[in-house]
């Protein structure tokens, strides 16, 4: 019988797990261990409203003062080792937390651009502290260069533009967002930059970021030199799983789990951005780095942990807000799916596109179409396992 549970990682997935434990009538001890000193807060606004200055730190709180989860929060100290034999977690200050079961929710961290460490004015954006520092730096800046035209890079560009900065976005791929959205619709989303006076340069890499103690310019592989007061690097995130090396868990770009959140080690489940879970939509193991996944999937993993195995079967979903345009995507696409615009017009920045495989909708993308999007999202079903060649 499980009477004590350690949740490692005190953000969206960790908090959602604590809520799910209480909802599922678990009344034992919950100890939540978090590396950051902050109580759980919401990350999506960090690149959007918080950076643009239209929401405050208080608005980011995920917890509700009216809810009593009875969690013992151990904040500001990272876990450094999981000892499955003795069922304990060792913290950075040397202390040990013993528990009957462990929920892994350590999320991910922003990738750095090699060679820019310690150069003032070069930022990544993952945490509240990152956002506070970036916001302060942008307030005194005129020229921003964003490296990476993924969703976070695009949102930072949009927020900085709204603050009046001159913004250039650099993308190594020929088409931004071609991975998640496909080249055709990736190009439509990337078109938002030009609509709003942001320069986008694609198919070009960063040769060097130069400066003395503070950044002065970004040099591109085609020889262009872009002067910059601030640089934001948005080139993806890596799972925070190094601390689990040697614990017996299967680690492959995240903690590998089945569709129910179970890992190879009994009484240890993994959730949110740190987990590489089997997805029936992808037909394989994927690390789903989306907010809604971290919100909803913990309920299934918690049920599994408490002995009522439950698979998380909802279609993957994410949104992005840029330049006042709302982008929503659900499902899983592969390069061979066909794309059909079923409503609106990409040139008007309002449309709904459906990705189809063998005549069945497998993914849907909406731009400023929340109502239709919601209806289509509900119709997505997990595709039959994709043939190996189509993956």
């Amino acid at each position: 019988m499980i009477r004590s549970i350690a949740v490692v990682g005190a953000s969206l997935a960790g908090l959602s797990a604590a809520r799910a434990l209480r909802n599922q009538a678990y009344d034992g001890t919950i100890i939540a261990i978090g590396a950051e000193p902050h109580v759980p807060y919401d990350r999506p606004p960090l690149s959007k409203a918080f950076l643009a200055g239209t929401c405050t730190e208080d608005d980011l709180a995920l917890g509700d003062p009216d809810e009593s989860l009875e969690v013992d929060w151990r904040l500001g100290t990272a876990a450094v080792r999981l000892n499955p034999g003795s069922r304990s977690v060792t913290l950075a200050d040397g202390s040990e937390v013993h528990a009957d079961a462990v929920i892994l929710a350590t999320g991910a961290r922003a990738r750095q651009l090699p060679g820019t460490e310690g150069l003032n004015g070069v930022h990544t954006l993952r945490t509240l502290d990152d956002a506070v520092a970036l916001r302060a730096d942008l307030a005194a800046a005129e020229r921003l260069v964003v490296v990476g035209a993924g969703f976070i890079g695009a949102e930072v560009a949009s927020s900085a533009r709204s603050l009046g900065l001159d913004v250039t976005v650099i993308e190594a791929l020929p088409t931004p967002l071609a991975g998640p959205l496909g080249a055709e619709l990736g190009a439509v989303c990337a078109g938002l930059h030009a609509d709003h006076g942001v320069h986008l340069r694609t198919g070009v890499g960063v040769a060097a970021v130069t400066g003395g103690s503070r950044v002065e310019a970004v040099e591109l592989t085609d020889g262009t030199r872009l002067p910059a007061d601030v640089v934001v690097v948005g080139i993806g995130a890596s799972a925070n799983v190094e601390w689990l090396i040697g614990s017996g868990l299967d680690l492959a770009n995240g903690v590998v789990t089945d569709a129910a959140g179970a890992t190879r080690v009994p009484s240890v489940v993994a959730i949110g951005d740190c987990a590489a879970a089997y997805s029936p939509y992808a037909g394989g193991v994927v690390r789903s780095e989306h907010w809604t996944h971290a919100l909803e999937q913990p309920a299934a993993a918690v049920a599994t942990l408490l002995g009522e195995r439950r698979e998380h079967t909802a279609a993957p979903y994410f949104w992005s807000d840029q330049y006042g345009v709302r982008i929503q995507f659900a499902g899983h696409r592969t390069g061979t799916d066909s794309v059909r615009i079923v409503e609106g017009d990409p040139d008007q920045r309002s449309f709904l596109a459906v990705y189809e495989r063998a005549g069945r909708p497998v993914a849907v993308l909406g731009m400023n179409q929340p109502k239709l999007f919601t209806r289509w999202r509900r119709q997505l079903s997990a595709p039959d396992p994709a043939p190996a060649s189509a993956a």
């Binding site: 809520r19 509700d64 809604t292």
Partner: protein, 111 residues
């Protein structure tokens, strides 16, 4: 004071109508034929609940899936923390009338 908004026939069952007042109000016609009015803007962030998914007496926000009880405005599922304001609805001679609440709305940050 109650104000006429639209004919009930303009809102099919299972659908919602956004009444463009300040702040906007969403009027829902449930599958069971009941009619409810709540503030249209989600209390979490800026999304229109009339664009959401109606199930029974509950609407799910189209952005992050908070669920609100149409009868009370209460939050049934996070991330929203504050209830939405509800308004009194009457249907007279096939016309939907709404009496706008004089309680303060729970608008999200930045709206």
């Amino acid at each position: 004071m109650s104000q006429p908004v639209c004919p009930l026939s303009a809102i099919p069952k299972g659908e919602a109508y956004r009444w463009e007042v300040e702040p906007p109000i969403a009027i829902f016609h449930t599958e069971d034929g009941e009619v409810f009015a709540i503030d249209d803007t989600c209390t979490h962030q800026d999304a229109s609940l009339a664009d959401g998914w109606l199930e029974g007496c509950e609407v799910e926000c189209p952005l992050h899936a908070s669920r609100f009880d149409l009868r009370t405005g209460k939050v049934d599922a996070p991330p929203a923390k504050k209830p939405v304001r509800t308004h009194q609805v009457t249907v007279t001679d096939g016309i939907v009338h709404v009496a706008v609440s004089d309680a303060a709305p729970n608008l999200p940050p930045g709206v």
